[in-house]
Each structure stands twice: as structure tokens, then as C-alpha cells.
Symmetry: C2
Subunit: 202 residues, 2 copies
């Protein structure tokens, strides 16, 4: 594309560095900003810069936070004996939105992926072991994606955590609520039979 203006070209180049945004979308966004009041662009720029410069990570759970410790770790209402291990901050938000979990979190910052060169050392794993070693934790819930990398990480974590003697569980995999049996893939369906829930025990 030949841009009539270097300023536009620069803006389009920078916007299209964002994931999932190509040159055409970037141009549409740039032209949209040009049509709006200057204050809109200013507010956007400022919010981005401030976020990038000032945001901090909770020293306990690595969740995003405005202070040294995040609001979840600081809250007196949370059950400090349970830690839910997740891949990133979006997963914390997703679980928080369910209103079903009252414990603390631990954000790994990724999953083990040999292809991308991410091993356990690249993840926030040492600090998890440290939290466990303090003796206040009764259960670790692994809430990682049901992908190859997620499963590998869960397997690795469960093995390493077994040494500490803490109870380790993982979130259930099965057919999603509202999902029809015949359209569920066979691996999921197979797993849901193997890990069936015993009504008579409840």
C-alpha cells in the first residue's frame, strides 16, 4: 500500500503489530481516530502508556495489580488454603466471572511448550512451590487449558507438587453445559465417561 502520509503509515504500521490486526483493519482504525475528536486519541495513548509503565504484578500470585499485592490476595473473604493455578490473567478474570471460586490464584505466565522454548524455568513455578512450602496451602487446583501444552504442564506440576504432600486436583473435563452428546468429539466424550461422577457417593 502506498500511503499519502508518512504519519498515517507509521500509525498503521504500529497498530498492525497488534495480534489479529492486519494492515486493512489498522488503516480503518487510524481513519476512525482521525474522524474523532483529538481527545479520543489522546485518552487512548495515555491509557496505553500508563498501563504499560505503571501496572505491577502481585508479588504472591503474579496477577496484575495496581499495588504490591493484588486485591484477591489482600481480601479477607478469600480462602487462603486453596490455590488455583492458571496460565494467564485472562483465566483469572474468566474464573472470577463464574463467582464459583473463593480461593487464591497463581498465574504461571504460560504453559510448558518445548516448541516455543518454554520450560518450567520460564514459568512462575518456583514461587508456587515457595507458597506451598509455607504450609498454609491445603489444595492446589490446576485450571489449565485442555490442550497438549496445558496437559503437559498439568502433568509436570502434579508430579512436582506430589513431593510436597499437598492435595492436587484439576478442573473437570467433559461435555460443556448445553452441549449435545452427538456433537461432542469422541475424545471429550470418552474422557467424560472415564471421569464420570458417582451420584450414589454424593
Amino acid at each position: 500500500m502506498n500511503f499519502p502520509s508518512k504519519l498515517i503509515e507509521d500509525a498503521v504500521t504500529e497498530i498492525s503489530r497488534l495480534p489479529g490486526i492486519g494492515k486493512k483493519t489498522a488503516l480503518r482504525l487510524a481513519l476512525h481516530l482521525l474522524k474523532q475528536n483529538e481527545a479520543v486519541t489522546e485518552a487512548l495513548s495515555l491509557a496505553l502508556t500508563r498501563m504499560r509503565e505503571e501496572v505491577r504484578y502481585c508479588k504472591n500470585c503474579h496477577n496484575i495489580s495496581d499495588a504490591e499485592e493484588c486485591s484477591i490476595c489482600l481480601s479477607h473473604r478469600r480462602d487462603k488454603s486453596t490455590i488455583c493455578v492458571v496460565e494467564d490473567i485472562r483465566d483469572v478474570l474468566a474464573i472470577e466471572n463464574t463467582n464459583q471460586y473463593q480461593g487464591l490464584y497463581h498465574v504461571l505466565g504460560g504453559v510448558i511448550s518445548p516448541i516455543q522454548g518454554i520450560g518450567p524455568e520460564e514459568l512462575n513455578f518456583a514461587s508456587l512451590l515457595e507458597r506451598v512450602s509455607k504450609g498454609e496451602v491445603a489444595e492446589i487446583i490446576l485450571a489449565l487449558s485442555a490442550t497438549m501444552e496445558g496437559d503437559t504442564t498439568s502433568f509436570y506440576l502434579s508430579k512436582r507438587l506430589k513431593e510436597t504432600g499437598v492435595k492436587v486436583s484439576t478442573i473437570a473435563r467433559g461435555i460443556p453445559v448445553g452441549g449435545e452428546l452427538e456433537f461432542t468429539d469422541e475424545v471429550t466424550l470418552g474422557r467424560s465417561i472415564l471421569t464420570r461422577i458417582n451420584y450414589s457417593q454424593e
Copy 2:
């Protein structure tokens, strides 16, 4: 969504003001920026602010420009007797990318749309008449979208331009190159028959 950080929340709010970007995508983009080097966010903010503050519009054709006149208007290679009227700057880029047009442009800045309260006065129409009145223009090519608003605008412009005596044409509507006849909608197909091209005259 409950955000663990006010800074993230502000950034997500500002990003999701952009067209076609919802809260979830905005959060994904914000977290992406957090994972990148600080320089990425800085470059993005700066490019956006500079673009919004410093970009100018060509005094002749209202195309985006870094100077008082755009590079197309200033070029000695362009045919100054033809003006192609388009809705916005993206259309200029689209036509430039075809490499089929050597004339000048005139960016209307929109199309007539009574529902959105856009009449001819809101568009860069007076300046088009002024350019025509200088007597150097031989042909005006209307290249507006084939929508109701685009057609209305074309009709209005062709009527008003008729008074000036300049030749007015519009880009061809028909089946797109590569398009199959049976999948072309009937209105397009009907028009393509009515405005058929006479081979024997060529």
C-alpha cells in the same frame, strides 16, 4: 468484568471504543502489550498521537497529506484534467493500488445520508465545484459505493455537475472479475446487461 487493576480497566475501556473491537479483544490486546517490551507501547502511543495532531488534509482534494498539498496533486505525472470523486481516503488508496488511474482525486468525506443527517453541505462538494469552475477539468469520474447512499450522492452530483458542462461518468457496475454468473445477484446481473459494453464499437 471485574478488572484486578484500574490501569488495565482504563486501557481496555479506551481500546474498546475503537470500531469492531469489543471488551474481550481489547483485553487481549492490552495483555499482549503488557507482554511486549515497553518500547512497543511507546511507539504505538506516539504514532497515534502524532498522526492525530499533525496530519493535514490537501487543500485541493482533501486527501490526507503531510503538507499543504498531497503528493498526488503535486505530481507532474498525473493528468490534471480528470478528477475521480470518492467517499473517503481508503477509496483513494484502493484505486491507487489498481495502478489504472492517472488523474487526480476529490475526497467527499462521506456520502449523502438523510438518516445520519449528512446533506451535500456536510460534504466537500463546494470545493469540487470550485475546482471545476477553474476550467482545467475535462471529466469527473464518480467512484462511489454501489449502495443506496452512494447512488443518491452520484445522482445529486451528476445533476449539479451537468450545469457546469463538464463530462461526468461513473465507474462500471457489473459482475466482479472471477465472479460466476449463477451466483451473481439479480440486480447486479440485470444492470450488467443494461450497461453492456458494445464490442463492435471498440
